[in-house]
């Protein structure tokens, strides 16, 4: 295969991965890393390097659209970014220490969990507990538009649990070159009992900053190969932009189910390859 063919095939595949990541709500990184390693036999270090830059691109591109709706909360996001960036430093450092097959194995597990999280029926279980005093002191509260003229107020609960989960989300992001939006949403939605729409939009907002914290070490360690990153970054960005347009119009329940199966297959393949040591 020539360099030209390889780049064009990568571009087309990355557009599909970005589309898939956007429609399933999993993000492009979770899809592109297994595709690069399992199908294109790219070493996982190069794969997570290319993925990380595409994650920064899609997060920044999408955040610009979200801020207008008034759901994302910059204070909650900024406070929790202390946890995710510290976690990302740890995760990126681990990539230089942990053997390749362990990274692949952990990635496979995260894929299986992500597939489950993407199809699980979500219900708001926001019990009216006393707000965490820490949350009040840190101003982890806000309101969002619940109708044309009405607003609904919320205050975070269980801040330490949320902070801990965010550190884990950051570590996974740095270790696997993904946005780990699924874990971030769990931290805010489940642990801190924030409204779902606030959790998802704030999570997306945080992904770029989290990924930027790993980027320095990735760059320094030589994981970011320009000729590989260019079709992947442009493709995933384009695919996810197309996906977000479709999302507004389409009923995606069935699509999600099909995508979840694809993700499960990739996850199992990654685990098997890791155990056999061929990743």
């Amino acid at each position: 295969m020539t360099a030209l063919d390889f780049s064009l095939i990568l571009l087309a595949t990355s557009i599909l991965a970005g589309l898939l990541g956007s429609l399933s709500g999993l993000g492009g990184g979770v899809v592109i890393v297994p595709v690069l390693t399992v199908i294109f036999h790219v070493d996982i270090h190069y794969a997570i390097g290319a993925s990380l830059v595409s994650v920064i691109a899609t997060s920044s591109g999408a955040a610009a659209a979200y801020v207008r709706e008034g759901f994302s909360n910059i204070r909650i996001g900024m406070f929790l970014e202390i946890a995710t960036t510290l976690g990302a430093l740890l995760g990126a450092w681990l990539t230089t220490r942990v053997p390749t097959h362990s990274i692949g194995f952990i990635f496979g597990i995260v894929l299986l969990y992500s597939a489950y999280a993407s199809i699980k029926k979500r219900q708001d279980e926001h019990t009216q507990q006393q707000p965490d005093p820490l949350a009040l002191r840190l101003k982890l509260q806000g309101n969002f538009p619940s109708g044309p003229t009405t607003h609904q107020d919320y205050v975070a609960q269980r801040v330490p649990a949320g902070f801990g989960l965010m550190t884990l989300a950051g570590t996974l992001s740095g270790l696997l070159g993904i946005g780990s939006g699924a874990v971030k949403v769990v931290a805010m939605d489940q642990a801190m009992r924030l409204p779902f729409k606030v959790s998802t939009t704030t999570s997306n907002f945080m992904i770029g900053v989290t990924a930027a914290a790993s980027a320095g070490l990735y760059l320094h360690s030589g994981y970011i190969a320009p000729a590989l990153a260019f079709p992947v970054m442009l493709g995933v960005l384009l695919g996810s932009l197309i996906g977000s347009r479709i999302l507004v119009r389409a009923q995606v329940r069935t699509l999600r189910l099909i995508f979840a199966l694809v993700i499960v297959a990739l996850g199992i393949e990654m685990i098997i390859n890791s155990v056999r040591g061929v990743l």
């Binding site: 036999h41 591109g61 960005l237």
Partner: protein
């Protein structure tokens, strides 16, 4: 998206400016990467590069000075790296904007929190063992 009208600084206003900045940053980065990518494909000959075995990328694509030197000679891969650096700088610029916004809001707690996040980001970029 229009810039907010002048008046009191609010979180919403910070967010709108941040949104404009993020869109500008990612568009600029994508344009540079696309330009470098087209140059790369125009010069590409021979078989696909081997990514199957990991050898760290050469210093030419790691050190800022070396990357800029490459951009000066229109080296395609250096131009791609420049675009990626702009991309990585975008979220960092976002945190700096938030620091400024919180300063205008006279919110000392969040000025401090944002500064901690910025310090972690700068540490990750510039300090390595």
């Amino acid at each position: 998206m229009n810039p907010p009208a002048s008046g009191q600084w609010t979180d919403q206003r910070i967010e709108i400016w941040v949104g404009i900045m993020l869109r500008t940053g990612v568009t600029l980065a994508a344009a540079i990467v696309l330009f470098g990518g087209i140059l790369y494909l125009a010069h590409a000959s021979g078989p696909r590069p081997d990514y199957q075995h990991f050898h760290a990328e050469p210093a030419q694509f790691i050190q800022l000075g070396a990357i800029l030197d490459g951009v000066g000679t229109l080296d395609p891969e250096s131009i791609i790296m420049l675009g990626l650096l702009v991309l990585i700088a975008t979220p960092i610029a976002r945190v700096i904007m938030c620091i400024v916004g919180f300063l205008f809001e006279r919110d000392h707690l969040y000025t401090a929190i944002s500064t901690i996040v910025l310090a972690i980001l700068l540490y990750s970029l510039f300090f390595h063992q």
